[in-house]
């Protein structure tokens, strides 16, 4: 009640009889607050004048500045392009090997390649190229290359993609072999990697592998894969990309169950061709982007 007389009231008075009449104070808002509030109202009107605001019947008010988020984006993109242009022009002219020898350009290509890789390649090959066994997506950080580990080879694979097909072998899945023959093949393949196996089955499997099943045509006479091995004295066609079965590195798993599944049902792998397609529809990478990714992948540790 101490403020009575100092503060304006609304003029009402209730409960006069109680001895403590109720009055309604009309405390004004702090001036700074009130004027800030008025200022925001004025600002909103300024905003309407300069910026796009109200949807109208056939169009919307565009504002005096002619600003739009979309044109701002176009400007920002153009600005970045100008900054990157000197580097991109040089990158375009340089050969892949020259890029690896020029520390500044190498760093530029790797940083660009890393972010392009993160968005486009990492979903299958894992962040940093660690691969994934779930879909048979190859590891890119080791030196076990299915097709080629040279920087040109890597660029070529990114550009043109790769279709891998391991046919089904078991009769139930459209293959030509009985279940027990598949078992024999499994024993032989496991023996290539030095695992303890049933010797008799291994011998039968070895015969199938080199003969009727025709595994050697892609995996080579000693199962070391199309990248290294030979068949009948000739090198295996490298573009097949058939894995080395004699090392400890497995694309789809090296345990008995996974190997069995690979032989019985077959496997198919698809690396998309990144220089094909339409941008925005199926993600094309520009030749420059492919170059940067190739440099990045080559730098991951296993590049040859």
């Amino acid at each position: 009640m101490s403020e009575e007389g100092k503060v304006e009231t609304t003029g009402h008075q209730w409960d006069d009889n109680e001895g403590y009449p109720l009055k309604e104070f009309n405390n004004p808002l702090p001036r700074w607050w009130l004027y800030s509030f008025y200022a925001t109202i004025v600002w909103s009107v300024v905003y309407w004048v300069f910026y796009p605001t109200w949807p109208m019947v056939t169009d919307y008010t565009r504002g005096l500045l002619g600003w739009s988020m979309h044109s701002q984006l176009a400007e920002e993109l153009a600005e970045a392009e100008v900054l990157q242009k000197p580097f991109n022009d040089r990158l375009e002219k340089m050969s892949l090997v020259d890029i690896t020898r020029d520390p500044q350009m190498l760093q530029y290509a790797i940083s660009g390649g890393k972010s392009i890789f993160g968005d486009n390649c990492a979903p299958c090959h894992g962040s940093g190229g660690t691969g994934s066994r779930a879909g048979g997506f190859p590891v890119l950080v080791d030196d076990d290359w299915l097709i080629s580990g040279t920087i040109e080879g890597i660029e070529d694979t990114i550009k043109n993609g790769h279709t891998a097909l391991m046919p089904a072998h078991q009769a139930d899945f459209g293959g030509a072999f009985k279940t027990n023959q598949v078992d024999d093949l499994v024993q032989y393949v496991l023996s290539l990697g030095g695992k303890p196996v049933n010797k008799e089955a291994q011998a039968r499997g070895s015969e199938l592998f080199k003969g009727e099943a025709g595994c050697v045509a892609c995996h080579g006479d000693s199962g070391k894969g199309s990248a290294k091995d030979t068949t009948g004295g000739q090198p295996v066609e490298k573009s097949i990309g058939a894995p080395n079965l004699a090392d400890g590195i497995w694309l789809y798993g090296g345990d008995e169950k996974s190997v069995r599944l690979s032989i019985a049902k077959g496997r198919s792998g698809l690396m998309p061709a990144w220089n094909a397609g339409t941008e925005g529809v199926n993600r094309k990478l520009s030749p420059l982007a492919i170059k940067q990714v190739a440099v990045y992948v080559h730098s991951l540790g296993g590049g040859q």
């Binding site: 609304t10 003029g11 009402h12 009309n26 109200w54 949807p55 109208m56 019947v57 056939t58 169009d59 919307y60 739009s68 988020m69 979309h70 044109s71 701002q72 984006l73 176009a74 920002e76 993109l77 970045a80 968005d119 486009n120 990492a122 979903p123 299958c124 894992g126 962040s127 660690t130 994934s132 066994r133 779930a134 879909g135 997506f137 698809l270 998309p272 339409t278 941008e279 925005g280 529809v281 199926n282 993600r283």
Partner: protein, 238 residues
């Protein structure tokens, strides 16, 4: 007019309150009726195929929108990562739209065609198998649950009530079209005649003899952002 006058007369106060509310209402609601003037017309948008529509239902049912947005904003970082910014017309057949407001996972507005079906299968089974750092929970039941599509024609005709232009022919053939899209190498001539060429056709879940919820969801995801033809330049602004 001072406080006392207004406060002591209920009719006067009611009228003045109404006036204030009306002004607020006019300012907030009327512009919504003219929103059409801000929607850029684009070529290629079509209503979702029956399978995609079912996939969209799964998307909602599983709450994908809680972590994934479908709205690429016109910023440089988003343009570089996700592609062309989202156009209003791209969600014109969405009821409700799936713009979302939270990105625990990445934006999905243009995820269509970005990954293979095999990738989606592995990813739904256990996301960490393909993206070890992912915090997405697994959805292994999708490929085990057969898709219930008995009500698809009803759902489509319900959507016509809110302005999705499904034709009677599309509604009548909904189930045929749904199967044609989900079954590998089936006869899709009529499906394409009704919905156009821009669509993913495959056995999306990798299980040839069943149409599962995964089939529908992957079909929907593979369509997202692919309908509008960006090969010809789009208007930057209207």
């Amino acid at each position: 007019m001072n406080h006392a006058t207004i406060e002591k007369s209920i009719p006067l106060m009611a009228i003045l309150t109404l006036v204030v509310v009306l002004i607020g209402g006019l300012v907030e609601i009327v512009p919504l009726f003219y929103l059409k003037s801000t929607v850029v017309e684009v070529k290629g948008m079509r209503p979702y195929t029956p399978l995609e529509l079912k996939g969209r239902d799964i998307y909602l049912k599983e709450g994908c929108y809680n972590c994934h947005s479908q709205m690429i904003r016109p910023f440089r970082d988003e343009a570089l990562r996700y592609g062309h910014y989202s156009l209003a017309a791209e969600s014109m057949y969405d009821h409700p739209f799936q713009w979302g407001s939270k990105r625990t996972g990445p934006d999905l507005a243009r995820v269509g065609g970005k990954y293979s079906n095999a990738w989606h299968q592995a990813h739904m089974r256990r996301p960490q198998d393909v993206a070890p750092e992912s915090v997405m929970p697994p959805y292994p039941w999708l490929e085990k649950t057969e898709l219930d599509y008995a009500d698809i024609a009803d759902r489509m005709s319900a959507l016509t009530k809110v302005g999705v232009p499904y034709t009677q022919e599309q509604i009548t053939n909904a189930i045929t079209d749904l199967k044609a899209q989900a079954i590998f190498q089936s006869d899709d001539k009529n499906l394409k005649k009704r919905y156009g060429d821009r669509m993913a056709l495959d056995d999306f879940d990798g299980i040839p003899d069943k149409i599962t919820e995964l089939d529908a969801l992957v079909a929907y995801l593979q369509m997202l952002g692919t309908l509008v033809d960006f090969s010809t330049p789009q208007p930057q602004t209207r």
